[in-house]
């Protein structure tokens, strides 16, 4: 049979969607997850979980393999930095913020609301 598509299930991007279990995150280490056909980076830092788009606005590359410097995730390609708390760019060569997404905990489940 052809694979069953889940596209009949209409998901409002404004709804919170499941991303992962809290136990899947290592504090201080970024992890990448796919949510609703988009890739996001989750970071557990100082007891909080933050979520930004897995997208460097400099050249469109991914941030998930980058390292954390304080609250900033450093793009592994050219060194642009983004604040994981709000997606704000803090270092060239990127000049535009990357989207950040709202996070909430539902027990041990991490839920995120995608920001368009």
């Amino acid at each position: 049979m052809w694979p069953v598509s889940n596209k009949e299930v209409i998901i409002n991007p404004r709804d919170f969607q499941y991303a992962c279990e809290l136990g899947e995150l290592t504090p201080g280490k970024p992890s990448t997850f796919e949510v609703d056909d988009r890739f996001v980076v989750l970071v557990q830092l100082d007891g909080q979980v933050y979520c930004i788009e897995d997208l460097c606005t400099h050249d469109g590359g991914t941030l998930g393999d980058g390292e954390l410097e304080g609250h900033c995730l450093v793009c592994p390609r050219h060194g642009a930095k983004f604040d994981v708390r709000n997606g704000h760019v803090t270092c060239m060569p990127a000049t535009e913020n990357t989207p950040s997404h709202e996070v909430k905990l539902d027990g041990s489940r991490i839920m995120i609301r995608l920001n368009d």
Binding site: M1, W2, P3, S5, K7, F39, D59, G60, G61
Partner: protein, 441 residues
């Protein structure tokens, strides 16, 4: 010939057992089976492309899961044809080929051309019936070693299209090819066009899904083989559904004093990566490539093009134009490569991008690699927003914003329309562009 389109509905993925069953169901000549087995060995030994590969570092394919799709192994399930045909309006075609999910369901050729030795048919069938013609050219330009997608395509292509025009035969009416793919289906067709010396032909190729939201997996290849003094016009209109993954290798080899005019329009697909190369292999060869991309939502289209000047006194002219809406993204990497000794080369490449939203993104990367010292190679790239003053002016003359944007977009593409000499193609492109323009407030 009319047949019923058929595909396999057994759950399976692209693994060894599926490949073995695929071969069992084929009626291929031995040389082709060997070709497939070799390609499968490459597929098994390769990794999927990664962001560390130069050609893929701007390609987001993490969301592609091949195991969501099943290969076409046998041919026994009827699928209704519901995809639109756009390039045939007002065209009196000399021949036509139609396929569904990479399986040819209809082939037709005016007997007057057949009598002159022209062949238009399913590549699978022609591999058996015109084996020397197909064997001499199949995979002569697209190597299964290019990447894992080309290896997979070379191993498991189905159906396919073969057009052969003998020496000094002019096919003065277009040949139409229509590839349809069902929602969630797979199309692994292979297009092989061979023009012998002095031959001429026009091919109109279009591919479509039954609905805008359709998904699917197209892993294809195009090979255009042109001998001396042949003349080919090849038009390709890609209108897949917005959830289709497309990976294709497209190649042309142009002989002495031969010309190719290749027009590419890419409108659909969630993600498409096209590796397009034109090799000018003998003196006097000329190529003109016209590309149109019009994207919306989160579409991501990648074109890697190569104008390869192998011989001297050749001309290449590539013009790609993109219009982007919403959060869509286009990547164009163009290279002009001039071999040592390819003197008197005249190469030109240009990529223009028009952004209709703040969140669209285009990456334009023209390049030159020149190993000769008496050449003329130029390139250019522009990217920018629609001038709000133009829209304001049009609105002050009574047009709505959508009408104004549509006019500006049409004007932006006009340079390419002016190069297209086939009226049905101009009209189909114009209509496709009009469909894509959002109703902006």
């Amino acid at each position: 010939m009319n047949t019923t389109a058929t595909t396999n509905s057994a759950a399976s993925s692209f693994d060894d057992s599926a490949f073995a069953r695929f071969l069992e169901h084929r009626i291929d000549p031995t040389w082709l089976t060997t070709l497939r087995r070799n390609a499968w060995a490459y597929f098994q030994s390769m990794e999927w492309p990664s962001p560390r590969d130069e050609n893929w570092m701007r390609s987001e394919i993490r969301g592609f899961r091949i195991n969501k799709f099943a290969p076409n192994i046998e041919e026994n399930v009827a699928i209704p044809e519901t995809s639109p045909v756009r390039l045939l309006d007002g065209v009196n075609a000399a021949g036509s080929l139609r396929s569904i999910n990479g399986i040819v369901t209809h082939e037709e050729l005016d007997p007057s051309y057949a009598a002159r030795g022209v062949v238009v048919g399913s590549l699978s069938q022609c591999a058996r019936e015109h084996t020397h013609l197909v064997q001499a050219h199949l995979n002569s330009l697209v190597s299964p070693k290019s990447d894992r997608f080309s290896a997979l395509q070379s191993a498991m292509w189905t159906g396919g299209y073969f057009v052969y025009v003998p020496r000094n035969v002019i096919v003065d009416r277009p040949i139409h090819i229509h590839a349809a793919m069902g929602d969630g289906a797979v199309d692994m067709s292979h297009t092989l066009i061979v023009l012998e010396e002095g031959a001429e032909a026009t091919i109109l190729y279009e591919c479509a899904s039954p609905s805008e939201s359709a998904s699917g997996f197209h892993c294809g290849a195009v090979e255009l083989v042109q001998k001396g003094n042949s003349h080919l016009r090849f038009v390709s209109l890609q209108d897949w559904g917005q959830n289709v993954w497309q990976f294709a290798h497209q190649r042309a080899s142009v002989g002495r004093d031969a010309t190719v005019q290749w027009t590419v329009a890419a409108m659909g697909a969630r993600f498409a990566q096209i590796d397009q190369r034109v090799a000018l292999v003998e003196p006097g060869a000329r190529s003109q490539v016209n590309g149109v991309m019009f994207t919306r939502d989160r579409q991501h289209l990648v074109f890697n093009t190569l104008q390869h000047h192998v011989a001297s006194h050749c001309t290449s002219d590539f013009l790609y134009k993109s219009v982007l809406q919403d959060r869509s993204r286009t990547v164009w990497r163009g290279m002009i490569k001039v071999n040592e000794g390819a003197q008197k080369t005249d190469g030109y490449q240009r990529n223009d991008n028009l952004m209709l939203s703040d969140t669209a993104r285009s990456d334009s990367i023209p390049g030159l690699e020149i190993n000769a010292d008496d050449v003329r190679c130029t390139h250019g790239s522009t990217s920018g927003r629609v001038d709000e003053e133009l829209i304001f002016y049009a609105q002050s003359r009574g047009f709505t914003r959508a009408e104004a944007v549509r006019m500006i977009v049409t004007g932006f593409f006009q340079q390419i329309f002016d190069r297209i000499t086939i009226e049905s193609v101009r009209e189909a492109l114009g209509a496709a562009i009009a469909r894509q323009v959002r109703q902006y407030d």
